[in-house]
Symmetry: C2
């Protein structure tokens, strides 16, 4: 391809509002253009690279036995109502504008396709003989993202690979899950991504087991806990650490030695830092007391004959305790609580504690609430400070087990906090955990029967009886992979493409493009490369050398062959890799064969990596 | 690919509500599934075929020098407002539901992308040196189709290839248009489509010259006039015929010999057929008199200093005359009228003619209206019948030129009717025109500066002065191409795929799939084909032979190799083409090499066709 005949609108200036390197470089190298907030056009160079990512993913999915199809962007609202996600997803679901009786108002743009594929399975997969099966697509997704940011990392329209597997039992699901996990490792490795598979929470997708594929970079929005020896990696939402019971000795001895609780006047000090400053203590000596409400659904039996079980909802008051320097992990807390939870409103907190917000403590609280959930680390504290359940007062010398119970019918001790830097890996290796920022590029889930139950999607087993499909689902953010590649492969001058996803493999550059011999050789080198099946971009522009070199660095084609009067005088053409500073003068033929060899070797290296 | 591991949900029954062969066969062969009215999932086999069509189109676009990119589905309403198409397209534009101040209400789903690409050109194409350029994408389109029908032929979401070219002058546009025209011919020929390029009206896209690419089939919704010797083809909207001035002699002689106009009481006979029955005459002896209104915009100057020109609209009354057996072509009429037109409301008709609807005639009308537009064929009528401008009365013996003017300041004679079967080709060859039904699969337009003017999209010329881009646009309905291929290639048993778009090239079928030798040979043949790079589908299902043969016919893979105990007894395997009845028994190796040869020969044949 000749640069002059192509369309690469590079820019010198760093675009305003762009901070993530991938965002800046995708704009500057002319890969994308923003059309609206969170909505991007992929310009020719970006589209070429994105199609390479797409094709690598497709090949690895096919190799794993998954079958490609294509579901539409427009999906019927009624399917989202069957599973309750029309309500659960709320504003994330983008609906078409239309009067209530108009067909438009019955359509939403698919943010994911579990409901759609389950409808297809329900229609066509009638027998266990058709299982297991894995169906996937590479399709645009739409989400009502409130705050799009970081270029194509968080958008309202993006390209996704989503796969869905259907199984008869857990063992088959495990096999299917492993196939996808391995396929993801291969796909990301082929893209040149330094990925990390981490344990993850399943979140709104349902299901119990899941892994995320992460790429560490400051531009990410996910937090990952990673042990220093790499024996453990998990999303902060799920990460846990070894419980260190401490060195304080037995509870009984501590209590004997300890003084009684003392009340201290702490006017207007409702926040941890203020209290610590006031009391001259440390956050790790404080107990944070957080009041939540939860909604418990209890099945009741209606009186009428043949009536269906009716659900009655009761509001629960749940109090969570964590150390002052720790943060409650609400995902963990929700699991322990067994019901959906949210922070209580101020009036309820006052009603429960008898004090304004900021002065709650666990003493004497258990009789007034439904559940007390205590983080493990709180149980080994002694001589702690906490709220006095009295406005503007705190207490010192609190002893867990003495001043509030650590067991009993309403009490649960569990891990309900986020891990912190320096916590020890839960593997027991003793390696400390480090918190890192990352981009999520893929996610594999075991869904179980969440969707097949809700949509009554059944197959007939060997015994002739219907059973719900056991499902898995597996997503890759195709657009995000491209951004993550750039996050991982760039320098101050621009992108440094891995060979596998580079929009072109070799850049042939003529400086002195008005010199006949230069042009003749450049055309020859370009033609030889193309004849060998190499994707060559020939910068034939009549521009200054410095300008062309800057563009070359920015656009980041991995191999560069520069032809100019200077190189000809030195005996040939200049061969350089974008990733290395060394330049070598070679004969044109040598440069061509070295380029071909390098392209093939790099592709082979990336393909064999895991 | 093994059939058992794949997903081809074939069906025996003809789906209800499906009448077009492509619709029936796409559903029965398991190519698509309807998810909502006019919204389809492409199941694996359909998706494979669609991707082949897509790739053929991509290759031909690339070969013609067009550059691929990808614009988003979500587009900003404000761009559609810049060109006035937000209003002009009305319900066709699908909008997102959202409160007036919400970002959602500022987005619409792209039904086409002229506005978006023009915004990109405006941003990046600043110099004549960057022109000409042709940018294209293959992308989902969304249209608020009121009545989706015929499967994927008329839908609310579909795949389209849309290209846009930018030029400095008309000559460059002509070159670019020709490049696309030729690329389309190659692409359709490679898909095995018996296409026809016809002259077309440019319609709502703007611009002046356009061609449509049509495939003749009863399932189509377009009407094409095609001369018997194929020297002329045009969309009915645009088709014209040679004007035959008839044999009645001079106007003057006719008038001398003719009797005066006679009024006849024709109670309740307001329609042509009723009047003819009443008067004992033929529709071709009648003059249809149709009253239209048009809106003329005249630029006026507002009084205030510096005020912009304000448009004042005046409503025009326009009367059109055509022969009773002809139909007004409103596209032609609109062009002659020079303003947008619509049929007048009954009260205006009564006001203009003095009679109820159905009794209008041209006599004495010209003074009461703004324009009288007479079809050429009316001028050579004599002794005609028409309405009397008096409720329940018609007149006989009407002489054009005597009883109403054929010239004058308000009178225009022009071709304003649809051609009819038997009209003569406008080339003058004397060949009669035939009307045929067709599917439009592609359309090439010369847009001119419609969009660049509206959006102030300018480049700087060699003289340093800004000028609007001269544009062309070029669309292919990718999904429609697939349906058109099936419309053109099927029999009672199912699809007969052209090799180029067949989802698989060879079907290997084991009948007696429990026989060891049969299975061994089938696996061997399948493996040899795959090793040779042939796309082989191996029907390894343990089903009855009759069932498998029916599926094979339905799914329509072009080459079939059948292996069973019977064929083994006859000395080998059975080789058959889907398009031919003959079956040949060959050795397995012979069958494999014949299959490979046939696949390659067919692909070469389709590639070299135009």
């Amino acid at each position: 391809m000749r640069w002059r005949n192509y369309f690469i609108p590079t820019a010198k200036e760093t675009p305003k509002d762009a901070t993530a390197p991938s965002h800046i470089l995708m704009l500057r190298a002319g890969l994308v253009r923003q059309l609206a907030a969170g909505v991007y056009t992929f310009l020719p160079l970006g589209w070429r690279a994105l199609r390479k990512v797409e094709q690598i993913i497709r090949e690895e999915m096919d190799r794993a036995g998954a079958i490609e199809l294509k579901m539409p962007c427009l999906t019927p609202l009624e399917l989202w109502e069957e599973t309750g996600r029309a309500a659960a997803m709320g504003d994330v679901l983008l609906r078409l504008a239309g009067a209530p009786d108009d067909w438009r108002s019955g359509l939403v743009l698919g943010p994911t396709h579990e409901e759609i594929i389950t409808e297809i399975a329900r229609a066509y997969l009638s027998s266990y003989k058709q299982l297991p099966i894995n169906l996937y697509q590479i399709q645009a997704k739409f989400r009502g993202e409130a705050r799009p940011k970081s270029g194509v990392l968080r958008t309202r329209e993006f390209l996704m690979k989503d796969a869905y597997s259907f199984h008869v039992d857990k063992a088959s699901l495990d096999d299917g899950y492993r196939l996808m996990y391995d396929a993801y490792c291969r796909a990301f490795a082929r893209c040149g991504l330094p990925y990390l598979a981490v344990e993850a929470d399943s979140g709104a997708m349902g299901g119990d087991v899941s892994h995320e594929f992460m790429v560490l970079t400051d531009a990410g929005e996910d937090r990952v806990a990673l042990s220093e020896n790499r024996d453990y990696a998990a999303n902060l939402e799920r990460a846990t650490a070894v419980f260190q019971s401490g060195h304080e000795g037995t509870e009984a001895r501590r209590h004997e030695e300890a003084a009684a609780v003392r009340e201290v006047h702490t006017p207007n000090a409702g926040k941890i830092d203020d209290v610590c400053a006031f009391l001259g203590t440390q956050p790790r000596q404080m107990i944070k007391t957080l009041v939540y409400t939860g909604v418990e659904e209890s099945a009741g039996q209606s009186a009428g004959a043949g009536a269906r079980a009716a659900a009655t909802a009761r509001r629960l008051v749940i109090v969570a305790l964590v150390r002052g320097d720790h943060e409650v992990n609400e995902i963990k807390l929700r699991k322990v609580a067994g019901v959906p939870i949210e922070l209580a409103a101020p009036d309820l907190i006052e009603q429960v504690t008898g004090a304004k917000v900021g002065f709650a403590g666990p003493q004497g609280l258990v009789d007034r609430i439904d559940k007390l959930i205590i983080d493990r680390d709180v149980t080994v504290m002694s001589d702690a400070a906490t709220g006095a359940n009295k406005t503007d007062y705190h207490v010192l010398g609190v002893q867990p087990g003495r001043d509030f119970p650590l067991s009993g019918p309403k009490v649960v001790v569990a891990d309900i906090r986020n891990v912190v830097d320096g916590d020890l890996s839960p593997t027991g290796s003793g390696a400390p955990l480090r918190l890192r920022t990352a981009i999520e590029v893929g996610h594999v889930f075991k869904l179980g029967t969440k969707y097949s139950d809700a949509m009554r999607a059944h197959y007939l087993g060997p015994d002739g009886k219907p059973a719900p499909f056991i499902m898995g689902c597996y997503g890759i953010g195709v657009t995000r992979v491209l951004a993550a590649v750039i996050e991982s492969h760039h320098d101050d001058g621009g992108i440094i493409w891995p060979m596998s996803v580079a929009p072109f493999q070799v850049l042939v550059m003529s400086i002195d493009p008005r010199d006949e011999e230069v042009v003749r050789l450049a055309e020859q080198v370009h033609a030889q490369l193309e004849a060998a099946g190499i994707e060559s971009l020939y910068d034939d522009r009549d521009e200054r050398a410095g300008f062309k070199f800057k563009d070359a660095d920015l656009v980041g084609i991995p191999v560069r062959i520069v032809i100019g009067k200077k190189s000809l005088a030195a005996g040939g053409v200049e061969f350089q890799l974008r990733s290395r500073p060394e330049k070598t003068v070679l004969s044109p033929d040598q440069a061509v064969s070295r380029a071909i060899d390098h392209v093939r070797a790099e592709l082979a290296r990336l393909s064999s990596a895991t």
